[in-house]
Amino acid sequence: EKQQQFENLDVQLRKLHASVESLVFNRKELSVNTASFAKSAAMLGNSEDHTALSRALSQLAEVEEKIDQLHQDQACADFYLISELLGDYVRLITAGVFDQRMKTWAKCQDAQVMLQRKREAEAKLQHANKPDKLQQAKDEIRERVFALAVKPNAGFSDLRVFFSSQKDRVKDFRVVIIKYLESLVHTQQQLIKYWEAFLPEAKAIS
């Protein structure tokens, strides 16, 4: 059941990672399209025969160029901070999950083989008519069957240990998220600066 939880986490982090990759892609597209619009606005400004409007359109083109650069920088932050972080987690968990699965499966296999051998031995003892040895064999089999039912979880106590070392991971995660949010703040503050500089230009059209 813990196994299931771990596997769910794997799937969910992959989905999250994919969404962030989409964000990086679309932000890059936005940057390209903003630059393209900037050029077009500049051409329109050149063509405009009303002087003040022409100047305002050229200024608009310049603002959009600067904004394009902002988008590029933000896309980098998207990628290097979040996307890579998530990628690391996905890799870790995949390795962890796979590793544990292998260990657990191997242990299970061994236990099954031993149990089979003990059963064969018990069968032999039954015909040999040694009641003490037979009882001993039966007890051992019962123990092994019980252990087999319980043993899969032994693998997962290891997982629990893995997860509690996640306390450091959580700290990492928080630090990175804060850094990322701060990068978004910076972008927005730059946007405010650029648009506030443009506003008087727009008002100057007469």
Partner: protein, 381 residues
């Protein structure tokens, strides 16, 4: 709701005030509520409220285009058909008993509605603010008639036959640029309009791509928020609280980013789209004047021929006189129209650029404060 082209002329004249206060998006059409307030005696009542569909607007536009009397005027461009492809499919499914629209689909439908109402409203306001169009008989019917216009529309179609519409549009530019222009004003206007027309078409296309990308980024924030919530949902690790907090931040960011994108679309992209169409209407005027000039030149040639042959001279003289009159009338009214067109364009750009900039600043400030709030909370944990 402010209109794209609201300026010193549009809708400030209280004698005829029109707005579209409401629009319903039904399964396969949009129903606009057209509200009119008037003090003009030509109207029967001082106030009207009628239901109109997009096709009714097109009918009105077409009848105006095909009215000879208006040949010397810039005809306000017809509003484009409402584009509800995605939401319409959803509404269709709703009718068949499927689950309701998501929050995002509903928001997108609202944005489309906002855009289409704006452009239909401006069309009517351009007509009402023009000294000649406001007196148009069909315009009055459009505003007053309290029944469905469908029947009248169908009859009108048969009557007019769509003469102008069948003309090949590409012939316009050749004819306009081929005209030997003696009038300095028209020469300049022609050169300006031909150049500006291609530039604004390009700017419109690029603006469309830009705002679409912006909306995609907002959508990504939405998906990230959802994925974070899913991850937090069945996790009891220390991660959980942080994941939920992050999901919340991204959801709020999405709302702001989406509003930023759609405001930019309403103020910038729609502005460019509208003036691309309006420039075309101005070019159409130049085209009609060029045709009138060509007719006049032909009538001159015909008169010379008639004089040589000594036959039908009086008729040819009359024809020449009429052609000249028509050309002069178009030139005179055309000059006025093109001059006021420039003024209108400048005012509209100014207004929309200012509004767009103020909105972008407002949204960016919102983003900053919500982000800083979230950073504080995360740091304090």
């Amino acid at each position: 709701m402010t209109s794209i082209s609201e300026d010193i002329d549009l809708n400030n004249d209280a004698s005829l005030v029109i707005d579209i206060p409401d629009a319903l998006c039904e399964r396969d059409k949009v129903k606009f509520t057209v509200h009119t307030k008037t003090t003009l005696s030509s109207f029967q009542k001082p106030e009207y409220s009628v239901q109109r569909q997009h096709e009714d607007f097109i009918w009105l536009h077409d009848t105006i285009v095909e009215t000879e009397e208006y040949a010397g005027l810039i005809i306000p461009p017809a509003p484009p058909k409402p584009d509800f492809e995605g939401p319409r499919e959803k509404m269709h499914k709703l009718g068949e008993g499927e689950s309701s629209m998501t929050k995002e689909e509903y928001a997108k439908m609202k944005q489309e509605l906002e855009k289409t109402v704006q452009v239909h409203e401006v069309f009517l306001q351009r007509l009402s603010s023009h000294p000649m169009f406001r007196k148009d008989r069909n315009f009055q019917i459009f505003l007053e008639y309290d029944q469905d216009l469908t029947v009248r529309r169908k009859n009108a179609k048969e009557m007019f036959g769509g003469f102008f519409k069948n003309m090949v549009k590409s012939a316009d530019e050749v004819l306009i640029s081929g005209v030997k222009e003696v009038d300095e004003f028209f020469e300049q206007e022609k050169n300006f309009l031909l150049d500006y027309s291609s530039k604004i078409k390009d700017a419109t296309a690029k603006a469309e791509k830009m705002t679409r990308s912006h909306k995609n980024v907002a959508d990504d924030y939405n998906h990230i928020s959802g994925a974070l919530n899913n991850t937090a949902a069945d996790n009891n690790t220390a991660f959980k609280k942080h994941l939920e907090k992050c999901a919340e931040v991204f959801e709020k960011l999405r709302k702001v980013e989406d509003r930023m994108a759609s405001d930019q679309e309403l103020k910038l992209t729609e502005l460019l789209r509208y003036y691309t169409r309006d420039i075309q209407a101005a070019k159409d005027l130049l085209y009609r004047r060029a045709r009138a000039l060509a007719d006049y030149e032909n009538s001159n040639k015909a008169l010379d021929k008639a004089r040589l042959k000594g036959k039908d001279v009086a008729q040819a003289e009359e024809n020449q006189k009429q052609c000249l009159q028509k050309f002069d009338k178009l030139s005179e009214s055309g000059k006025k129209e093109l001059t006021s067109f420039k003024a209108r364009r400048v005012v509209a750009f100014r207004k929309n650029l200012i509004e767009m900039t103020e909105l972008e600043i407002k949204h960016a400030k919102n983003s900053v404060s919500l982000l800083q709030g979230s950073i504080e909370i995360l740091k304090s944990n």
